[in-house]
Each structure stands twice: as C-alpha cells, then as structure tokens.
C-alpha cells in the first residue's frame, strides 16, 4: 500500500533530522581556562549573610572574603585579617589588610566587618548564621583597619567564627536600601564582593558564572572563569564528569569510586569529613536504653569496621568518642568499643535482659540525608539482633524526621550525623550532650559543668584536661552507639588540580589546570 511506505519514509526522515549533526559535540565550558563545578543543588541566594547551607556558601567563599581562612587541618590562616589576638579577657582584636577592595573599588574597612556582623545579628534579618556570632556581644572599630569583638564572657575559642562570616560592602548595601533593621532583597541577586572571583551572571538551577578578579589582593587566581552548574542526580553528575561537561563533582556515592578512579578522564579526591555519624539513645524517655549497661552492651554488639567496609566501601573511620582525631579536645587514650558479642550478651544479662529478652527497640533513621543513612541503620539493626533482642528500623524522610529531632521525639534509638567545622570539641559536646541543648537526649549535670568549664578555659592544657574527663564520662556512659567519621568523596577531570577538604569548602583560587 503506497501510503504506508510514504509515512515510514517521513518517519525515518524525522528520526534522521533529530539525530543529525550531533556527532561532533564539544564538551561544555569549551574555553580551556574555564572550570565547571557541579554540586547537587544550586546556591539559593547571593546574600552571604543569610544561609548556612554548604552548596550556597561554597559559591560565597569565592566571591566574598572572610577575616581568616582555615587550612585543611582547621588551623586559622591570616586572610583579610593579618593578625588577631586577645587584648583583654573578653576582647578579640583583628588587624585588617589595607589593600582589600570590593569589585566596585570601595575599600574593605572595619566598618564593613562591623556592618556584616550586625546585619547577621539583626532579628529582622532572620539569618541562620545567628548562632555563629552569638558570642559576639558588640563590635568596636577604633580605626578603619582595626576590629574588636567584645564577648560577654572570656571564650577559649576565637569569637564569632571569623572564617565563616563573609564581609559585605556596607556602603553598597546602604545605597540599595539594606541597613541594619531593614532589607530590600536586592542583595539576593546582586552581590558585591571582594573575593577572588567576580560574579557575572546567574540563571537559577542552570548556571552561575564567575570570572577571575584581576585585582585580587592575594593575586589573580589561576583559573580564568568558574561556572557553577548544579546536577541533582548522582548518576547524572558522574555521567557529566565522564563526558567532560563538568570538571568537579561533589557527593560521589561510594559505588562509583572504582569507575571514577580508573576512568580515562577522571580521578577521585577525598578527605576526612568533619561529619561524624552516630546512633543516639534517648535516655530522657523510659525504656531499657536508660540503663548504662544496656547501652554499653549494644556498643559491643555492633561491628563498625564491618559496616564501613560493606556499606561505605571502606570510606569512613571508626571513632571512640564523639570527636574525630583531628579535633581540638580529642583524647587518643580512650579505647574503642570493639566488636565482642559474648561481652555484649554478658552485660545484657547483668542488666537483667538475659539473651536479649525484654529488649524491643526501634531504630529511627532518615533517608537521603546522609551518605547511606538508611542502609547503615538496617545493618545496625541486623547486628544488634545477634544479641537476641528485637530491633526494627523506622525510616522517614528528612523533613518529617528533623521535626522529631527538635522535639526529642525519636526514641529509643535514632541516627544523626554532626558536622562541626570549628574542628573544636565545644560545638559538638554543647549541641549534643548538654541537658538543655535542643538535640541532646542525655542529661548529666556533672558533664554539663565540665563542658561549660572547658568553653571558658583559656589555658589550652587545662582545657584539654577538662575534655579528657568529659570524654571519659561520655565513653563510659555511652549515650551513643559510637560509629564513624565519614570520608567525603569528590571526583574531578584529570586536567584539574584540586584536592578535597574535610570541611566541604571549595576554594577555586586553589585550583590549577594542567
């Protein structure tokens, strides 16, 4: 029948049309000195004083400056501040460089630092960064290049997280209707920074383009142009890296590590994360988890190295306390709860639960929040069941789960991970182990006192001694199933020289192209 053939022909022509001319496809970001970075999500705002989420602050780190920077071990390096010291028990003084300029030529001065911190503290701003500058009571600016943070009490740690607070151009902000007390919303899409990369354009969820700042005080960065192009799906992120459409991808799932490490065009880079995963016992709610012996027994019943090996492809490090070894306050003398099922059963019997009889525990966990969160919870439930007790998992979406964590409503066991980029014990212990902390489900007045003492102890040796004591209590009381510190995986194209950092930050001025 003639019409059949003609229709077939036109269909074939259509197919050919849609496929034609696509053979010679150049990778995106074609210019040689352009680097494309693909995180899972797009930044949400260019106002650097509002949010705390990593994919957003990663862009801010490259277009704004901070008073200091952290090196890979968390040590503070001079940046806009050339030096800092405690000049009185409650006064931290920063001396600023004189040659830092915003892109519009405005000099960066102490007034800009003061404005930035005050804007964060301004209640009408609704900034999530409030907790970072909570210890800074007020700010003095004796001259244009000296800033003083005044705290209510002497603090051991430097005040105000100066490696995380971005400095904005106060003159530019005021010109556009943004001052302490009111906001115009203009900054959300029109940043004016002093950083190594100049913001050029941004189409949301598509790409954000930045160009090297030729006049940067620390020298012009090596890579001419950096494009931030988000790709939400991990498999698609990996595919885009393999085709060279992007040069750097974050949050690489462990199952891709062999493929990417052995790739023609790709390489892996990883770092010990500042994030520690744990299962907490809710000791504030009734149940066998209120018995210390039960908590210790369950710590002996789990085999953390086996979970790291099988679930995370070896990409994690077991911890003996809530602190990873590269943190201030870490105590290497504290032993690990090694896997010992016999001991676990003996402790359970001693606690009144022979062969695990009478133990029926729900293990709560989120899904899609942490690397392999659900799988880890399921593995833990399996291992704990070896004691003879009954363990089941309850997995929930993060948005639902997080509401329960706030109300201490998850019981008797729940999974969380804690990222602390101060590399200091205070944030972790205060947030997770003091009686009145929102996320703490453990209460011990003796421990509360030690943690507060350490916070205000300015002699490092004495402070470490207080932490040693605190960690001994935590280890013995076992309010957690102690798990591991993650290792973060990134992958890059082979032409890009850049190494991963444990704090999840990406500094593009550290990048070089081969």
């Amino acid at each position: 029948m003639p019409y059949g053939r003609r229709a077939l022909l036109s269909f074939a022509a259509l197919l050919a049309l849609s496929l034609g001319g696509s053979a010679a496809l150049a990778p995106a970001g074609a210019a040689d000195s352009t680097v494309t970075i693909s995180q899972g999500v797009d930044p949400v705002t260019m106002d650097p004083l509002k949010r705390t989420i990593t994919p957003t602050t990663n862009v801010h780190y490259n277009i704004f400056d901070t008073l200091v920077r952290q090196d890979r071990e968390g040590k503070l390096l001079p940046w806009v501040a050339t030096s800092w010291k405690r000049v009185a028990p409650t006064v931290w003084e920063f001396k600023l460089r004189h040659d830092v300029k915003f892109w519009n030529g405005d000099p960066l001065t102490s007034a800009d630092v003061k404005f930035s911190v005050e804007k964060i503290k301004d209640p009408t701003e609704g900034s999530e960064q409030g907790p970072r500058v909570a210890t800074v009571d007020r700010i003095e600016t004796p001259d244009s290049y000296t800033v003083r943070y005044i705290t209510a009490k002497p603090t051991a740690m430097i005040a105000g997280y100066p490696w995380q607070v971005f400095i904005v151009d106060s003159k530019y902000w005021k010109e556009h209707g943004d001052d302490v007390g009111h906001s115009s919303g203009y900054q959300a899409e029109h940043p004016m920074g002093s950083g190594p990369y100049i913001f050029k354009s941004w189409r949301k969820d598509e790409q954000l383009v930045t160009e090297a700042n030729a006049n940067y005080w620390h020298g012009r960065p090596s890579v001419d142009s950096v494009i931030w192009k988000p790709i939400p799906e991990a498999a698609a992120r990996v595919a885009a890296l393999r085709t060279g459409e992007t040069d750097l991808i974050t949050n690489v799932p462990a199952q891709y590590q062999l493929q990417l490490a052995g790739g023609r065009n790709t390489r892996l880079t990883s770092a010990r994360s500042i994030r520690v995963l744990f299962f907490a016992f809710n000791t504030l709610r009734p149940g066998p988890q209120q018995n210390k012996l039960v908590r210790q027994a369950l710590n002996y019943a789990i085999d953390v190295p086996a979970i790291i090996q099988t679930v995370l492809g070896g990409r994690a490090y077991a911890v003996n306390t809530p602190l990873p070894p590269n943190f201030v306050g870490y105590d290497p003398k504290i032993p690990f709860y090694h896997h010992d099922l016999a001991k676990a059963k003996a402790l359970l019997a001693q606690a009144g639960y022979p062969d695990g009889k009478g133990i029926d525990m729900l293990i709560n966990a989120p899904i899609g929040r942490y690397n392999k969160d659900k799988e880890i919870a399921e593995a833990i439930a399996g291992q704990l069941s070896q004691t003879g007790g009954h363990f089941t998992t309850k997995i929930q979406e993060w948005t639902t789960y997080v509401n329960f964590t706030s109300s201490r409503g998850l019981t008797p066991v729940y999974e969380l991970a804690w990222g602390n980029n101060s590399y200091d014990a205070d944030n972790t212990l205060t947030s997770l182990f003091t009686s009145d902390a929102r996320l703490s489900t453990y209460a011990n007045p003796a421990l509360d006192k030690l943690i507060v003492d350490a916070r205000y102890e300015t002699d490092p040796k004495k402070r470490q001694a207080v932490y040693d004591k605190s960690l001994e209590i935590i280890h013995d009381e076992a309010p957690w199933l102690f798990m591991f510190q993650y290792e973060d995986l990134y992958a890059t194209t082979k032409r890009l020289a850049w190494e991963a950092r444990g704090d999840e930050d990406i500094f593009c001025d550290e990048m070089k192209l081969k």
């Binding site: 036109s10 696509s22 999500v41 959300a188 799906e233 948005t399």
Partner: protein
C-alpha cells in the same frame, strides 16, 4: 459557545480557590519549616524566634487570611529558601518546563500517530508487532531508569548529546525522548485501537466503494473520525507530562518548575509550593477548557449550548 465559556471560567475560579485552600491546609498541618531551615546547632529559643518572625506561631486561620489576601494581590510572599518573591521565582522557571513538555508532546504525537495508524492498517504485520512491543516497553520502563540508560548510551558511550542542563537543541534531545516515551507509547496504542474501530465502520466501506484514494481515505475519512479520543488523551497527557517532568527535570538538571517544586517540598518552602500548585491548577483548567473548544472545531457534531 460564549455562555459555555463564561460558565466554565467561573467553574475554573472555584477549582483554583479549592486547590489553594487544600494546599495551604495540607502544608501547614504537616508541621512548619523552622526545624528544616535553621542550622542544627540553633537553640530552641532561636527556632522559636524564627517561627515568630515568619508568623508561623499565629492561628492557622489568621495565617490563611493574610495569605489569601496577599495572594489576591498577586503577592505569594517571599520564598523562605531564597528570600525573594515566590511568584517571580516560579514564573522564571515556566519557559524551560513548557519547552520540555511541548517538545515531548510534539515528539510523541509526530511519532505515535503515524505508527499507530500504520499498525492498525497493517494489523498483525511485523510493523504492528514491533509497534506493540515498543509501546509495551515505553509504558512499563520507569522514566528514572530510562533517563539514566539514555544518558549512559547516547551521552557517555556515544557522546552524541550533552547529559545535563539546558542549552541548544542538542540539550533538548535526551530529556525530550525520556519524557515523551511514556506518552508516545500511550498514544500509539490508543491511535491503533481507535483506528481499528473506525476502519471497521460502514462509512469507510462506502467511501472505499465510491473509489476514494487510499491515502485520502485513511487520513481524511478514517483518522478524522478516530481523532476525538486521541485529542482527549493528548490533553490529559499534558498533565501526565508535567508530573513525569519532576523526574526528568531532576535527572537532566533541567531548570524547570518541577525541579523547583521538588526542592521546595524538601525544604518546606511553603510560598513556593503554594505558587507552583496554584499555577499547575490554572494550567490544567486552561488545558481542559481548550480541549473542549478544540472538540467543537474537530467534530462539527459537537456544539456547546
């Protein structure tokens, strides 16, 4: 016809109002965004302050009242996540979504209708068998899986198409095929079935007996009468395309409104979710209305009085 349109437009307003009320209640009854939005080390007091500043501590009916009043003036509030007006954020993603949805629909129609017709005409031929197998795969393969497979084959192995993002025609190909496949399969089966019905009809036999040219017989007499169910499905498929776009836009990092919606739900960004749902309701109402009008144009026997 005018009276009909006016009636339908009034009905449409009620649908949108109903949707707005429902989405507001569902969002606000399932908890507020404070815990998701605030950093983990925030204290209970800081969270309470955030809640107060955002007005989440007011009675629900007060919150709804101020939402409805502002929405009537085109103000859906600022996105909690972005700190910018939610309506603008949503509207700027519409073109990308429309581009993808319509190209997927166009591809489906252009491929599915001719093949469906041919499969009906040459029933039980090799072509018919191939078309049916293709339809089976197209309808049963999950969009998610199909998307990844297309990326691996045409992006990574063959290097024909870019694997993510928006750009020229080349960027459009893989997402269009992924999104269009399900609809294509659906339409192909329907066209085939509809044509099979019509081909058996008396008037076709009469036409054939009159000596009408085969091609004219098929396109003019048969397909014209088989169109009605096909058009209905094309319209409803547009709705399906929007929901499937949630997955397609995520896999291909397509900057559309569905991806914005997913992220907003994850963050409990109320204003964005409300705007997107209301915009979707408006779109669906408009599509349905257009379909009804289109019926009348297609089939002279249909008249709205």
């Amino acid at each position: 016809m005018t009276a009909f349109l006016v009636r339908r437009a009034i009905g449409a307003v009620w649908v949108v109002v109903g949707v707005a009320v429902a989405v507001f209640l569902i969002l606000h009854l399932t908890g507020d965004p404070a815990a998701v939005m605030m950093p983990p080390e925030a204290t209970t007091q800081q969270i309470a302050e955030f809640r107060h500043n955002q007005g989440f501590d007011r009675p629900l009916w007060v919150q709804f009242g101020s939402f409805a009043w502002a929405a009537l003036h085109g103000d859906f509030g600022n996105s909690l996540r972005h700190g910018e007006p939610a309506l603008g954020l949503a509207l700027e993603r519409v073109p990308a979504s429309v581009e993808l949805a319509f190209s997927a629909l166009a591809l489906s129609v252009v491929v599915a209708v001719p093949i469906g017709v041919l499969a009906a005409v040459r029933r039980n031929s090799l072509l018919d068998l191939a078309a049916r197998i293709f339809a089976l795969i197209g309808q049963s393969a999950p969009v998610y899986w199909m998307g990844i497979m297309l990326i691996l084959l045409f992006g990574v192995q063959l290097g024909w198409f870019p694997v993510s993002g928006i750009g020229g025609i080349k960027h459009l190909v893989l997402p269009t095929v992924t999104l269009g496949l399900f609809t294509m399969a659906q339409l192909m089966r329907l066209t085939r079935a509809s044509m099979l019905d019509v081909l058996k009809a008396d008037f076709l036999r009469t036409a054939r007996a009159k000596g009408v040219q085969p091609l004219r017989l098929l396109w003019h007499h048969a397909l014209r009468n088989a169109w009605l169910p096909i058009v209905t499905v094309i319209a409803t498929e547009l709705v399906t395309l929007f929901s499937q776009a949630i997955i397609t836009e995520t896999i291909y990092a397509w900057p559309g409104i569905a991806r914005l919606a997913v992220q907003a739900i994850v963050d409990r960004d109320y204003p964005i979710v409300e705007v997107v749902v209301i915009l979707a309701a408006l779109a669906f109402v408009a599509i349905n209305l257009l379909t009804d009008v289109f019926y009348a144009a297609l089939d002279p026997r249909i008249r709205y009085e």
